[in-house]
Amino acid sequence: MSAENKQVISREGSTDIHAQTAGSKAVKYILITLSVVFLFVMLVMPLITVIYEAFRKGLVPYLEAVSDPDTISALLLTLEATVIAVVINTVFGLFAAWAISKFRFHGKKLLVTLIDLPVTVSPIIAGLIFVLTFGRQSAIYPFLESIDFMVVYAVPGIILATVFVTFPFISREILPVLEAQGTDEEEAAALMGTKGFTIFRRITLPHIKWALLYGIVLCAARAMGEFGAVSVLSGHLRGKTVTLPLQVEILFGDNKFMPAFAVSSILVVLAIVILIVRSIVEYIGKRRGEK
């Protein structure tokens, strides 16, 4: 390309690029307004309603509703299921992502598809699958009964459902990072005599750290809010197998609106905490990535 051509291009490039890409100002404001209105109606208004309804009768009834023993036990069960789901899915997600990105094997595509299954299948169906697998009609039920290990209408069922529904989140976050990275650095480390776990700790983990944390945050958020599959497996035994979302449903069903909103507000607070953690993770991850 001649020098003259280059100059022409750079002169054109110096005219306001936004004018060429973004269209008119009217479009800009219409799009912004639409987005804001949409967010307000879909997100902000419901949030305000929840908080308003929760505190409508004042702080004391709110605290009473929140400190109800059933609610406390629901909160604890939700946290328990979330922590276990996050731990199991982190381990599983790392293994699966590692296997898929680093090895060549038959059925790899199938495995990738299967990992996505929990997000595509309806949670109700997921719940039913477990009821059929571990419930009274199941072939392994007599065995479970003999070791006194109940899955359906018991805490293990709730945990199982939560794990199932949330298991793609972590592996899905790590996979693209591992795939983009390739295996050169690991090979280089292996050639110098580094063994498997050290390679993972020193080379791979620093790469996927932020993706992993992000995945964990998403997984935790989803685990706390899980309703469908848990609802099928829970049996709604108050104080035993009821998680926070189920507790909200029960209170709502009993026409106890204020307590229902009060319990909801706990979930909202948890969600906001997770959003903040997510933003921090994203921010730090991005800054590290730029270095």
């Binding site: 050169d184 650095e185 090979e187 280089a188 480390a189 050639l191 110098m192 005599g193 020193r202 620093p206």
Partner: protein
């Protein structure tokens, strides 16, 4: 022989990456594995390193069959095409990595790393991260990292591919000097014949998973023994009908007649051509300045091929009619190649 590959075969599915590969490399030599992409050169390198396993055959290093010895115990340094520097570690930690794995004591590591950083001329860059270095600097760090544990063999996969032309030139010379100074045996993969000729002591030409030819650069360039090598080296052009050019022996069966620019002499009508009776007339098609010479393409007897003239000689112009004399032609038939010399030149030497 220091490194030997015997009857090596390796397939990826239907693709035969190594087809009965045999090669020998002497200690202390810098050898180029040269071939077009997909010719199996990187596979050979990775098998020597132990990053891939051959399906059959033996890899011998220093008299030992190393097929079952893991990569980390072969005493090999490897420089990846992408350099594969650990991006979350500083230059210092990158070079020190292989030494830390060996549980060397801290003082010794510091001494060795400092020595290597001096060797690659990156003093003051110890605490930089790879992303803060230029391509050439990264390459040198990768080189130092591979050398840190004192390997006997250094393998380099397309070491100069990602570096711009000017720096590449310097690095080639630097690498050659460095390898000879350190006395390690070096093998590097390249698809660039100039690079192979310039840097290596010996070239192994690969094509379609096979070793076509090996030898010193000058030997391979002058005496190609296969059809592939004769066409691969140099700027080759093909003659449609070589028999139309005067005073060559006739060959009954042949596939291609190949000439390089240095086989062709172009003279203006006003200049003296010693072998005028054996020259044919041609028309100048293009004239291009190549820095140290003028490259001319001529059409002659229905073929178009290139030749060079020095800058000191009178200029030729596009469309000019010139005398074209061909000294030599490579004639290929199947896999084999034969060098035909112009009889006009031969007769004269006989007379003298």
């Amino acid at each position: 022989m220091y490194i030997e590959l015997k009857n090596i075969n390796k397939s990826y599915g239907d693709f035969k990456a190594s087809d009965n590969v045999n090669l020998e490399i002497e200690k202390g030599r810098l050898v180029a594995l040269l071939g077009p992409s997909g010719s199996g050169k990187t596979t050979i390198l990775r098998m020597i390193a132990g990053l891939e396993r051959p399906d059959s055959g033996e890899i011998i290093i220093d008299g030992k069959v190393v097929n079952d010895i893991p990569a980390s115990e072969r005493g090999i340094g490897f420089v990846f095409q992408s350099y594969a520097l650990f991006r979350y570690m500083t230059v210092f930690d990158n070079i020190a990595f292989g030494l830390k794995v060996r549980k060397m004591n801290k003082a010794a590591i510091k001494e060795r790393v400092t020595e290597l950083i001096k060797l690659i001329g990156l003093e003051g860059f110890e605490n930089r991260y790879p992303s803060q270095l230029s391509g050439g600097q990264r390459q040198r760090v990768a080189f130092a990292r591979a050398l840190a544990p004192n390997p006997q063999v250094l393998l380099l996969d397309e070491p100069f591919a990602a570096i711009d032309a000017k720096v590449r030139q310097e690095l080639r010379k630097w690498l050659k000097d460095m390898i000879h100074k350190l006395g390690v045996t070096g093998i590097f993969v390249t698809h660039d014949q100039d690079e192979a000729i310039e840097v290596s002591d010996e070239i192994i030409v690969t094509n379609k998973g096979r070793v076509e030819q090996s030898g010193t650069p000058i030997d391979i360039y002058r005496n190609p023994t296969t059809a592939f090598t004769s066409a691969f080296f140099g700027v080759t052009s093909e003659l449609k009908d070589y028999k139309a050019f005067k005073s060559f022996d006739e060959v009954d069966e042949y596939d291609r007649a190949i000439v390089r620019p240095e086989f062709v002499k172009i003279t203006k009508k006003s200049e003296v051509q010693k072998y005028k009776s054996s020259a044919v007339e041609g028309r100048v098609e293009t004239v291009e300045f190549r820095g140290n010479s003028i490259e001319i393409t001529v059409s002659c007897n229905g073929s178009i091929f290139s030749a060079r003239r020095s800058l000191d000689e009178p200029a030729v112009e596009v469309g000019e009619t010139v005398d074209v004399f061909i000294y030599r032609i490579f004639i290929t038939h199947g896999d084999s190649v034969k060098l035909l010399k112009n009889n006009a030149v031969r007769e004269e030497t006989v007379v003298i």
